[in-house]
Amino acid sequence: MFSGKVFGAVAGAAVLALSATGAFAQAKDKVKVGFIYVGPVGDFGWSHQHDQGRQAIEKAFPGKVTTTFVESVPEADSERAIEQLARTGHDLIFTTSFGFMEPTLKVAKKYPNIKFEHATGFKRAPNLSTYAAKFHEGRYITGVIAGKMTKSNVIGYVGAFPIPEVIAGINAYYLGAQSVNPNVKIKIVFANTWFDPAKEGDAAKALLDQGVDVLAQHTDSPAPIQAAEARGKFGFGQASDMERFAPKAQLTAITDNWSDYYVARTKAVLDGTWKSEDTWGGINAHMVVMTPYKNMPDDVKKMAQDTEAAIKSGQLNPFKCPVLGQDGKEIECKGNGSLSDEQVLGMNFYVKGIEDKIPQ
């Protein structure tokens, strides 16, 4: 599943968002909202979370909104599905995978009066918005917990591919751990797949065999955290709550929550205030939600809650300057007191203290 992966967004900086919308604003009584999912609704991961958002819209505007969804749409064949929704009277269409970017743009140009929203992409148009979530904020919190919970002082990370989104996650996780435990080490394994439960599990076992006792994952199945559970170690859920697979091992899970955003955007169409925008929300925007902190002592729990609150209030940024590269040199700070969004979205270096090399 290539959906949640926000890569290449640096290039997207070149594609400027057009703030002025061509169509004039007009309030509506009834709105029809369509969704395109890359996976099945029952995947208990990426598509499942988007569908929760769709259901939230139906609840928020009873009688005013109807929704439809098309699930398991292959990215290569998505244009037909998107156009189908456009033709059948939908006012607002969400396409929820990175690979839907070009098809969405194409259909959006053909139907200028329909509003489109594309998740995790970087190409916008007057009637096409983009949105994504700052998962690395959640990763920082899990890092703080890992740094406190590890007894071996070796924490682990099962990544999918060495792409910027995953690298940023690893760095945020490690910086979090380092902030509470200067001696902590990290071991990283790339499974080279987003989804292969057996291989993800083997990757987790390899880390556990080599002394890792707190495991984070950036692949889609619950296999890694399940492996941690079987060994009596700890882990973090990915994308959705994985507690049922690892009731003793899951410390918390970083989940996506699109409900608030979807409700807000639908309301904007109802009110006639919808504008093409680029939204990258994190814990503050309630797009990234941590499940209850469990299986840890109260002081660690408190620390996790405090970290979450600090990120929410904007007091703490996981990539607050100075950020040191692996060689100990400071990374140029292009943002306001922290790395800029573009720097995070295009991250291609490990921070100081990570001894591994990024596979090239």
Partner: protein
């Protein structure tokens, strides 16, 4: 348990489903039928075994359901390629696509359910031998079963009359038919056996390896099993070796990463496939001995009437 032992244990789990599925395909191919539907039959085996195991809370029933699913899929394939003498490559590919799709439907209600690990059978005394003790004598039944199956199939193919019949049909179905050998019947059973093994491999994947089900969880293992049969030059003994090399390559590359050897994981992931190409190359270089594909492999059988 030392790290070394732990690594060996993971290799066994990674290799077993490959071995089981490949053994079934080997028998099918030795009878002269190429079934490219292994991936689809495995996916169905995984979905049906998991569904049955959760519904009846029984691993045994789950395994039975997985094998039955594999057999039914194989029967469909047999109908098409034996009954209608259809192209085996096309039919096999269709079976894979069909199986992957149907397994999604069967398994949909069971996404998110989980099973507890199954028991490992500890053979007393022997399992206390250092290093190899736990490796060979404290495994689950599937592992012992896959070893036994390898030996039985090797004996069957080389030491029994029925095995000889199967091989001669695979080598040249026209001659075999002229001799009065039951080409269709033997191939039918060989295809069903292949299906049962694929189903069993799928059941192992869902019930032992991951202990949950999700769509597409076979993740290409059926194709690796197919490659293994070629790698092993259609011999069960080499299949065992090949399956364990594949399993070891997969697991060791993960360990190499964790140990920060600095080798790109993409390259390491490709190693098993490079090994297959190398094996094929070495096979073709070997001269003098009759190794290689059964003579009638993949050729539809249409007797003269």
């Amino acid at each position: 348990m030392t790290t070394f032992e732990a690594i060996l244990l993971t290799i066994v789990t990674a290799s077993t489903p490959l071995l089981i599925a490949a053994l079934g395909e080997l028998v099918t191919e030795r009878s002269g039928v190429l079934n490219l539907g292994v991936e689809g039959m495995m996916a169905m085996g995984a979905a049906c075994s998991f569904a049955a195991a959760v519904t009846f809370d029984s691993t045994l029933l789950g395994v039975a359901a997985g094998m039955l699913a594999g057999v039914l899929m194989a029967a469909l394939f047999a109908l098409v390629v034996l009954g209608f003498a259809a192209n085996q490559v096309g039919s096999g590919l269709a079976l894979t696509i069909f199986g992957l799709g149907l397994s999604g439907l069967v398994g949909a209600p069971f996404v998110g359910a989980r099973r507890d690990p199954i028991a490992h059978i500890d053979i007393p005394v022997l399992s206390d031998i250092p290093v190899i003790g736990r490796l060979f004598f404290e495994q689950d039944l599937f592992v012992y079963g896959s070893m036994a199956l390898t030996i039985l199939i090797a004996l069957y193919l080389t030491r029994t009359r029925s095995g000889l019949t199967l091989r001669s049909i695979g080598e040249n179905h026209t001659s075999a038919n002229a001799l009065g050998l039951p080409v269709w019947r033997v191939r039918f059973w060989a295809i069903l056996f292949g299906g049962a093994c694929s189903g069993l491999a799928g059941a192992y994947l869902a019930l032992v390896y991951t202990r949950f089900w999700s769509p597409g969880m076979t993740a290409g293992r059926g194709w690796i099993a197919l490659a293994l049969v070629v790698f092993a030059a259609w011999r069960p003994g080499w299949l065992l070796v090949g399956a364990y090399i594949f399993g070891a390559a997969t697991v060791l590359q993960l360990h190499a990463q964790a140990a920060q050897f600095g080798v790109p994981p993409q390259v390491l992931s490709a190693v098993p496939y490079l090994a297959t190409i190398l094996a094929l190359l070495l096979l073709s270089l070997r001269r003098g001995r009759a190794v290689g594909a059964p003579g009638s492999l993949g050729v539809p059988f249409v007797p003269d009437r």
